[in-house]
């Protein structure tokens, strides 16, 4: 009979209408901003920079890798210099243009120093179109506790890795120092035996920092 | 499914063209492209009834069109055809009479790379606007907005 299908459909609509008042499955919206959904840990929005103790010492070493890899090219980094003009391992300026950034998370993935991560902050409306959305380093820097708060799983893993790396570095430095000392002593004894031969190698320099990829050097 | 070499020798003997093999692709002279494509489409051995993709590429010494052919009837493929033309006035026979699916893709290749398809029913720009003078996917196209008048903004 003509019309049965329409009636069936109306029944579905009616069921949805009634159940949307009490069944959670059908009532999926919430009253934002009074209520908020729990944030997913992996949720990524815009990048921020991380510092360990003081904001003057960011973890970023201004290696420029993220700026080069950034697909829409929204990161600009200028390396800091000391009084003699020698480049320092920290950024003088670090700008991210949030109006260009497309939240892809590539910067976080490529950073060899775990210095840049994706934030959960999403309420970023500003009055200005250009300057206000160009985030400078003072607005980007956040303590590592913030990272621990928003993404505990990743933060714990990364901190553990960093600690391990640091310990390894320390151990390597100690080992190198010990080796250098032994070598110097050996050279000394050798030199005392055969006065006119020079020690063939100079003592090892202190261990290099954790090896960054080729680009960083 | 025949190997690329077998297809090459078969096509050479049947259509009387000289074809070179480039990796998986068969490089066909543009004069014979239509015949080769027609042969591939109509011969029961191949039945390449489905033209999947048409790509125009700018190699600096000339423009190249790549066709990926599949057979829906025999569930085989691909046979990759290529043809080369010069950059100044690149003319290639259109395959739209054989496969309707080439219509928009050839328009796209014309629009972005600047390959003229002879025999295409409606060769106009498709993605860029009418009156745009450049071919954006050519290697010498600079990405700056060339048409932009700075005083306008």
């Amino acid at each position: 009979m003509f019309g049965i299908g329409v009636l069936k459909g109306m029944a579905v609509t009616f069921k949805n209408f009634v159940e949307s008042y009490y069944k959670k499955e059908r009532l999926t919206t919430i009253e934002y901003p009074e209520k908020r959904l729990a944030e997913k840990e992996r949720f990524r929005n815009f990048p921020f920079l991380i510092f360990d103790e003081k904001p003057e010492d960011p973890r970023c070493v201004a290696c420029d890798i993220c700026a080069k890899e950034c697909p829409p090219q929204c990161i600009t980094i200028v390396r800091a210099q000391d009084a003699q003009g020698k480049p320092l391992k920290k950024p003088a300026t670090f700008d991210i243009d949030y109006s260009i950034c497309m939240n892809c998370g590539v910067c976080e993935e490529v950073c060899p120093f775990d210095a840049i991560f994706m934030d959960h902050e999403f309420e970023l409306a500003e009055y200005g179109r250009f300057e206000d959305l160009n985030y400078t380093i003072d607005r980007l820097l956040k303590p590592k506790e913030h990272f621990m708060k928003i993404r505990p799983t990743d933060a714990t893993r990364i901190e553990a890795e960093l600690k391990k790396k640091e310990n390894a570095k320390k151990a390597a430095a100690e080992k190198a120092a010990a080796a250098a000392k032994a070598k110097a002593e050996a050279a000394k004894t050798q030199a005392s035996q055969v006065p006119d031969t020079k020690p063939e190698t100079k003592p090892n320099e202190p261990a290099q920092p954790a090896d960054p990829p080729a680009e960083a050097k | 499914m025949k190997t690329t070499e077998e297809i090459k020798t078969d096509l050479e003997s049947k259509t009387g063209t000289s074809i070179t093999v480039q990796g998986e692709a068969l490089m066909v002279p543009k004069e014979k492209l239509f015949d080769v494509a027609k042969y591939l489409k109509d011969t029961p051995d191949y039945q390449m009834d489905y033209l999947s993709s048409v790509t125009g590429t700018d190699y600096k010494d000339g423009l190249e069109v790549t066709y990926h052919l599949y057979s829906i009837a025999k569930k085989e493929g691909p046979v990759v055809l290529k043809t080369k033309t010069d950059r100044e006035k690149g003319v290639v026979p259109s395959l739209t009479p054989l496969w309707r699916g080439a219509e928009f893709q050839e328009r796209e290749a014309y629009d972005l790379v600047g390959i003229h398809f002879e025999g295409h029913p409606d060769l106009r720009r498709i993605l860029m606007w009418d009156g745009f003078e450049h071919y954006p996917l050519r290697k010498d196209y600079t990405q700056e907005d060339q048409d932009r008048n700075p005083e306008q903004f």
Partner: protein, 383 residues
């Protein structure tokens, strides 16, 4: 204006009327224009006009590292970002000869099928919107889609722009409660589909509006390179998951539904059936997923340093059965870290080729639903 033969032969003087449908029109699913020549209400000529959203994705990709284009592929067909990632990853893996671990393959298949659910659900909602069932079906569809987007967000970090696939695997492993939630979804989704079908499939108005409208004959569909549900609705059993056996699809048992008439109703119904098959695949995948790495060693290295990824010179064409049809990426490498040529074979772009053929002789409201049944996303049409 061009002269067109009139279909009707009234005894008074009439003339054809040229109308632009779009680009700012809710029925065109974005900024898309149809230049229509009308004889009364009947369409005598229709020319699609596109390019309003053109951003030269292919040129952008030629100027950045291989991985740099991955987030941009999300923005092609922004409803199905996972399958876009999939096709691109497949093409580059073919080019560079990178192996993918088994667990990653399973994850990819789970994501691709979830994406298919998202796309088809949304399509049906919007198709009904075009039919005049204003927004109720769309909101039902959105409600269900939301559940899947939540899953995407949990794993990939983003709801729509997932950027989840990497060459040689995926970005991160599944979260512990992902699989249980997918299992729950698999149980609940058929119920939603039943409800949707009860709402629609026997609905006389829907049948009157969609049956025998926009018929696409088999031969024309094949010759016009139509792919995906459109092609299958015309009765051609061609599914790249079955033909190419890419990834691990040959391990799964599923059927390829095909239509009979090739009209709008068949195109709608094929999608419902395909969703049911997708649920079957998901069910198997969730049960069988092995443990192990989610990205190969080589892939992980390149994900860390995309600039060092330099496939040897050559070219590769990778294609998958995306929800909208065959999505192919043709990548040419010249041995540097940027692709020399990068071409997207976009299904919704090519499926538009026969829009005019399907619309001729129909009325304007029919043209709207025919366009809706093609299932286009302008981000992919214009690239």
């Amino acid at each position: 204006m061009m002269e067109h033969t009139l279909i009707s032969k009234p005894d008074f003087d009439t003339q054809t009327l040229e109308v632009s449908l779009g680009p700012q029109h809710p029925s065109t699913h974005g900024v898309f224009r149809m230049n229509v020549v009308l004889d009364g209400e009947t369409i005598v000529k229709l020319k699609p006009v596109m390019g309003y959203l053109h951003r030269n994705h292919e040129k952008l990709a030629e100027n950045m590292s291989y991985l740099g284009s991955m987030p941009y592929t999300d923005r092609l067909d922004y409803i199905c970002s996972m399958t876009n990632n999939f096709a691109y990853a497949l093409a580059v893996e073919k080019l560079a000869g990178i192996e993918v671990p088994e667990r990653a393959q399973y994850i990819r298949i789970i994501m691709a099928e979830l994406t298919r659910l998202v796309n088809h659900t949304l399509l049906i909602g919007f198709l009904l919107n075009d039919l005049g069932a204003f927004f109720t079906p769309v909101l039902y569809a959105f409600r269900e889609r939301e559940k899947i987007l939540d899953l995407f967000e949990e794993v990939a970090g983003s709801r729509m722009m997932c950027n989840y696939f990497r060459f040689g695997g995926v970005k991160a492993d599944l979260t512990p409660d992902f699989l249980p939630r997918v299992k729950e979804l698999i149980q609940n989704y058929p119920r939603f589909l039943d409800e949707f079908e009860a709402l629609l499939s026997e609905n006389e108005i829907l049948m009157a509006r969609t049956q025998k409208v926009g018929v696409l004959p088999k031969e024309l569909a094949v010759s016009a390179s139509i792919t995906g549900p459109m092609l299958r609705a015309s009765g051609v059993p061609y599914d790249i998951r079955k033909v190419d056996h890419y990834s691990l699809y040959d391990r799964f048992k599923f059927r390829v539904p095909i239509g009979e008439h090739g009209d709008v109703y068949d195109r709608y119904y094929i999608r419902v059936l395909e969703m049911r098959e997708s649920i079957k695949i998901l069910d198997q995948a969730v049960k069988e997923i092995p443990s192990g790495d989610v990205i190969s060693k080589v892939g992980a290295g390149f994900a860390k340093a995309p600039r060092n990824f330099k496939p040897k010179a050559g070219e590769a064409y990778g294609r998958i059965e995306a929800p909208k049809g065959e999505l192919g990426f043709f990548v040419v490498s010249d041995g540097t870290n940027k692709p020399y040529r990068y071409h997207v074979r976009a299904p919704s772009f090519i499926n538009l080729t026969i829009l005019e053929d399907m619309c001729l002789g129909h009325k304007v409201p029919d043209a709207i639903i025919i366009l809706g049944s093609i299932d286009i996303v302008l981000g992919e049409v214009d690239r």
